[in-house]
């Protein structure tokens, strides 16, 4: 039994490592021609060559606007160069909206007295930061079970024992990630080109049902051991709201493939976490003196309410 638990922990660790490395790859893609946020009212841009201090000090040489509002110039307070005069820090009078994209145009960049022409910089959060925010949001801040109240049927059904809760959590996460990416592909390459958006519910649930059935059949033949451990949960997954909610949310907010995948992963791990926490409490509850009429589900609901209260504490959490 101990082996079994360890192997699952290993799967979780490997999966998180893979996705974290994907995210850090995303962070590294900032090159020349792009800038980054420093504080919430500061942007750093790098010219790739030393520029003249006198030119840079003149704030009129810089034009900054939100990408969606190119006609509204933001008031710049000051521009300061670093010691090597390669990168400039632009400070604004008002805080910027860090979730949107900004365009910085530097007019007539002057280096060693020579005018080099205009340079444009795109400034936005790096892909890695955006993905990490989505991941954290889906897993903790907007945990699908405790703040969006989804997937409750399974949540109360399989949280009696730690053992089963871990199995369910892992099976669910895997199916969730794969079906999120499949539904995204179907929506982008089939439904949207054909203007059949109104069929998305039927297509998404069909995809999930067929996928689950296929995994069930394949697992049964290929790896009977794993099937014995996880097979029972597969059937239940089709009636879990989260499995349909995540593709629908992806479709509504127009998420790309990576965002869809990360939202699926966050939702899956968030569900697994909720399941595990609940199972730990319910195992202990078995030994407690609960009033007879509250035994079983009623007390489980009250406990879930307490969990929901504590998850309110994550609200407003942001790292970037």
């Amino acid at each position: 039994m101990k082996e079994y638990k360890l192997s699952h922990l290993a799967i979780i660790t490997v999966m998180s490592c893979v996705f974290l490395s994907v995210m850090t790859l995303g962070v590294a893609d900032a090159g020349t021609g792009s800038g980054s946020f420093k504080k919430d009212n500061e942007i750093v841009i790098s010219f790739g060559m030393p520029v003249d201090e006198a030119w840079a000090k003149n704030t009129a040489n810089f034009m900054v606007s939100e990408k969606t509002d190119p006609d509204i110039q933001l008031p710049i307070e000051s521009v300061t160069l670093d010691a090597k005069r390669i990168s400039a820090l632009i400070r604004f009078r008002e805080p910027l909206n860090l979730s949107s994209e900004y365009e910085v145009t530097a007019k007539d960049v002057t280096s060693e007295g020579k005018v080099m022409g205009n340079v444009m910089f795109m400034v936005k959060k790096s892909q890695g930061q955006i993905l990490f925010t989505i991941f954290l949001g889906a897993m903790l801040i907007n945990n699908f079970v405790f703040t969006k109240y989804l997937g409750l049927c399974i949540f109360f059904g399989v949280s009696q024992k730690k053992e089963t809760s871990i199995g369910m959590g892992i099976t669910f996460t895997i199916v969730m990630v794969l079906s999120a990416i499949m539904c995204w592909a179907l929506l982008t390459f089939v439904l949207q080109p054909l203007h059949l958006g109104f069929l998305k519910i039927i297509v998404f649930i069909g995809t999930v049902a067929i996928f689950v059935q296929a995994v069930d059949t394949i697992l049964r033949k290929v790896n009977p051991y794993l099937f014995k451990k996880l097979g029972v949960f597969l059937v239940l997954i089709v009636t879990n709201c989260i499995i349909l909610a995540v593709p629908l949310i992806n479709a509504d907010s127009g998420n790309g493939p990576m965002e869809s995948l990360i939202l699926g992963l966050g939702a899956g791990l968030g569900f697994a976490l909720a399941l595990f926490l609940m199972a730990c409490v319910r195992e202990k509850l078995e030994l407690c003196k609960v009033p007879a009429v509250f035994r079983g589900l009623p007390i489980a609901f009250v406990v879930a309410g307490l969990f929901a209260l504590s998850f309110l504490g994550f609200s407003g959490l942001s790292i970037f």
Partner: protein, 206 residues
């Protein structure tokens, strides 16, 4: 008692989908911050449940037993999409509040379990009444929770100010929904204990 009436009654109290069968809890917590939302979603569920039950009861001999689950899912998804298109025409304001959950009726366990356990074995008329009974039971549950949460959480009912202050704000927060359902379930258990002298074990929840 007439069997059809009994089927209706059965869905309302003895096998109430929310409090007794403990199926489809997600909407019971999520949309019940006001009676109006509960009413809207409840009506949508009645529509889907009745139409799916009838469809399956009529066409059950055509559906191959091997593929009955995918076929049921498609039947439910069909009626859910239909109601999802009709609701915004009837009442756009309330639809905005319950939009995601109307779409999620597809995965409500109560509907597919009634198709599997009842409509796939019985003829059309009893299936209709079973579906209607379950739907009404669901509507009743949603409205009851919605009324309690709206009244204690905001001091209002159906959007009308009654108390003029918020007695217990926690009731409309996520946690409040869980508490209310837990307590109502306990009350149902207690009533049954008083009537039969037995403590019932609440149903398998999935």
């Amino acid at each position: 008692m007439n069997r059809n009436v009994q089927l209706l009654w059965n869905g309302l109290i003895p096998e109430n989908p929310i409090f007794r069968l403990a199926l489809s809890m997600c909407p019971a917590v999520a949309v019940t911050t006001s009676v109006q939302n509960g009413l809207m979603l409840g009506l949508a569920v009645i529509f889907v449940q009745v139409f799916s039950s009838c469809t399956v009861a009529i066409f059950k001999s055509f559906i191959h037993p091997r593929i009955r689950i995918p076929a049921y899912v498609i039947v439910i998804a069909l009626w859910v999409t239909v109601i999802d298109m009709i609701l915004p025409v009837i009442s756009p304001e309330v639809y905005k509040q319950v939009e995601l959950f109307v779409k999620l009726i597809v995965v409500f366990a109560i509907i597919i379990s009634r198709l599997e356990l009842f409509a796939s074995k019985e003829p059309l008329i009893p299936s209709f009444f079973d579906g209607l009974g379950m739907g009404i039971g669901f509507l009743f549950g949603l409205c009851l929770i919605g009324a309690i949460r709206e009244f204690f959480g905001t001091g209002q009912l159906f959007g009308f100010d009654i108390l003029g202050f918020n007695p217990l704000l926690i009731m409309v927060l996520p946690a409040g929904g869980f508490f209310v359902i837990g307590f109502i379930m306990a009350i149902f258990n207690w009533i049954e204990y008083k009537l039969t002298g037995k403590i019932p074990t609440s149903g398998g929840a999935h």
